[in-house]
């Protein structure tokens, strides 16, 4: 392990991508994620990689499509309004079964919204990241170190299941510095050698490869989608993740992801000190959503509280997962306002006080 050092979340993500063998990065400036581009513009030329500032978010994601289609690990990053622009390209990437990593350092919306931290893109990223029947892997790390650890996992699973992976952060995680440690590793840019499907030139050694999402025969399109959804089932079965704390005897289970989970954890710690049996579930993967983990954690719960930096989006998945077995309440701040642990604690107490 290398020395522990302080790094901004955005810069740590960028460094982690290089270490994961991400050869090409295509980006476009937008607050609060621009440090990713700035960092990679400095580092990529020194490690034999490619940094390119595209003319738009739309172009950037299509550059990813081309690069990923040729079998090379690549990444783009943006923040909420820019992700909206990328959704067309993401749909094509999913439709062509291409692996890549997309980072969304969320800010407030809709429209230009604001630039402060937000979690208002949950629905978009987990349910509607473009048109058509598809999913992307969605990871929601809660610290700078976890962001680093997530990048390699995201690339690996994207490659394994041939699908786009999203790392969903927010302005808080992107801008903050925390201690991080990188494993010692040799930096090795990816190549297409393990991707027999890649359109990287057939060298007159095989039939031509086609990267495509167009199927004019309905039955054929249905078959490709069904095959894709069979892969999704494997992802669900093997790669769903959640972190649960104090849930064994918890009567009130708080569900929160990303930076909000840190705030909620502080509130749950405070509640425990006051003798309230509170626990916390932090979904680490938002797609697949940790349905079983949540149900298990809520075994003894009387009530469930979902906390988000939005008007309530993940709460829908929490309710679906629990299937009406527990009452689910919601606490949220939005528009870039960060909920305070004290607010969450007050809500926990209010819910606990009804017994």
């Amino acid at each position: 392990m290398a020395e522990k050092t302080l790094m901004k979340g955005n810069e740590a993500l960028a460094e982690a991508a290089i270490r994961a063998g991400c050869k090409c990065f295509f980006g476009y400036p937008i607050t609060p994620q621009t440090e990713i581009s700035a960092y990679l513009s400095k580092r990529m030329p020194k490690v034999g990689g490619v940094f390119l500032q595209a003319e738009s978010e739309v172009a950037a994601i299509n550059m990813v499509y081309g690069c990923a289609g040729s079998g090379i690990r690549c990444m783009t990053s943006s923040s909420s309004p820019g992700i909206s622009l990328k959704t067309e390209g993401i749909s094509y990437i999913a439709g062509a079964d291409l692996p890549c990593v997309i980072i969304n350092v969320q800010r407030g919306g809709p429209g230009l919204g604001g630039i402060q931290p937000s979690q208002a893109d949950y629905w978009q990223v987990t349910h509607a990241l473009g048109h058509g029947d598809f999913h992307a892997l969605v990871f929601a790390p809660a610290s700078v170190q976890e962001m680093v650890n997530t990048v390699t996992k995201a690339f690996d699973l994207a490659d394994q299941f041939r699908m786009p992976a999203v790392i969903l952060a927010d302005g808080l995680l992107g801008q903050m510095m925390e201690p991080v440690q990188f494993e010692e590793c040799e930096i090795k840019m990816s190549d297409a050698s393990k991707k027999p499907w890649a359109a990287c030139g057939h060298k007159n050694e095989r039939k031509h490869n086609i990267i495509n999402s167009l199927y004019l025969k309905p039955e054929q399109l249905e078959d490709t989608i069904k095959e894709r959804f069979e892969r999704y089932e494997k992802v669900k079965a093997n790669h769903t993740e959640a972190v649960c704390d104090y849930c064994e005897d918890a009567e009130i289970v708080v569900v929160a992801y990303g930076s909000t989970a840190r705030l909620a954890k502080s509130a749950v710690d405070a509640a425990r000190k006051e003798g309230i049996k509170a626990g916390i579930v932090r979904p680490v993967t938002l797609w697949p959503f940790p349905v079983n983990e949540l149900n298990e954690a809520c075994r003894n719960a009387k009530k469930v509280l979902t906390v988000e930096m939005s008007m309530g989006q993940m709460v829908d998945d929490v309710k679906l997962a629990l299937n009406c077995s527990k009452p689910v309440e919601f606490l949220g701040r939005t528009g870039g306002v960060i909920p305070k642990p004290a607010e969450i604690l007050a809500k926990i107490k209010e819910m606990g006080g009804n017994d």
Binding site: K23, C24, F26, V50, L52, A54, E55, S56, V58, A59, A60, N62, M63, V64, Y65, G66, C67, A68, G69, S70, I72, C74, E88, G89, Y92, A96, A198, A199, C200, G201, H202, K203, N204, E205, H208, N209, I210, I211, N212, S213, L214
Partner: protein, 246 residues
């Protein structure tokens, strides 16, 4: 006498193009150039959305299908990751000069080392003949039923003239394939584009004035005459820019 046969880079299948459409000729020219340069194994093509959407089936090199207008961005992604491969896009006028304007302009100005084959037939063929950015003044299309009125719909885009202003462009040439002489000129231009790419000399675009008999409501021969009599006067043939950028 040389035998006339199908180029290896052109797949041995029947295309979906209409009778009299010049896509087939241009496909063949691209394939011949790939064969002659011996680069099929290192060529990667990017097709657009439009009539040539299924060109991925027609070329024997590796192919990617892009979303509408984004082929130059997709090609950029391929080329940056694989700088030693031959990357080309094959795009129509709606794709390149309307929805994909930003992508083509920026690929060109970056001097992206790719070759763009641009089919200008003054209409959106695949969707049934709507007004394209290249539709001529007065031309009747499905969405300009009274003829393109420049006071309402503005003026056609002259792509080669526009892109030739950009420093990143090594070759901007407009050709046509309406007769054998022009077919030969077109092939030379396409070859030039790939040679510029081979020598890493910058962006090349070959605009091909093409026909769409079906949507123009003309016979194939009438369509060729229209290119000669109506299109060429508005879109003069020739080299707009030629010379290594790097």
């Amino acid at each position: 006498m040389p035998e006339f046969k199908r180029p290896h880079a052109l797949a041995d299948i029947t295309t979906h193009y209409c009778p009299g459409c010049t896509h087939g000729i241009v496909h063949r020219l691209v394939a011949e150039v790939i064969d002659e340069m011996g680069i099929e194994g290192d060529a990667i093509g990017v097709c657009p959305v439009g009539c040539s959407v299924m060109a991925y089936d027609y070329f024997n090199c590796d192919m990617l299908e892009a979303s509408h207008g984004r082929a130059p961005a997709v090609a950029t992604g391929v080329k940056r990751a694989n700088p030693d491969k031959f990357v080309f896009t094959y795009q129509g006028d709606g794709d390149l000069a309307a929805i994909g304007t930003a992508e083509i302009v920026h690929a060109a100005t970056r001097g992206e080392n790719i070759t763009v084959i641009f089919i200008n037939n003054t209409t959106y063929g695949m969707t049934g003949g709507q007004m394209a950015p290249t539709t001529l003044p007065g031309q009747v299309t499905q969405t300009t039923p009274y003829g393109r009125d420049t006071s309402v719909e503005g003026f056609p885009v002259r792509v080669c003239e526009m892109l030739s202003q950009l420093s990143g462009v090594a070759l901007a040439e407009r050709v046509t394939v309406i007769d054998p002489k022009n077919v030969n000129i077109a092939k030379k231009a396409i070859r030039k584009g790939f040679e510029f790419q081979k020598n890493k000399q910058g962006f090349s675009i070959i605009e091909v004035l093409s026909t769409c008999p079906t949507n123009w409501g003309k016979t194939p021969v009438e369509a060729l005459d229209r290119v000669r009599n109506e299109m060429i006067p508005y879109y003069p043939l020739g080299v707009y820019k030629e010379g290594a950028v790097r």
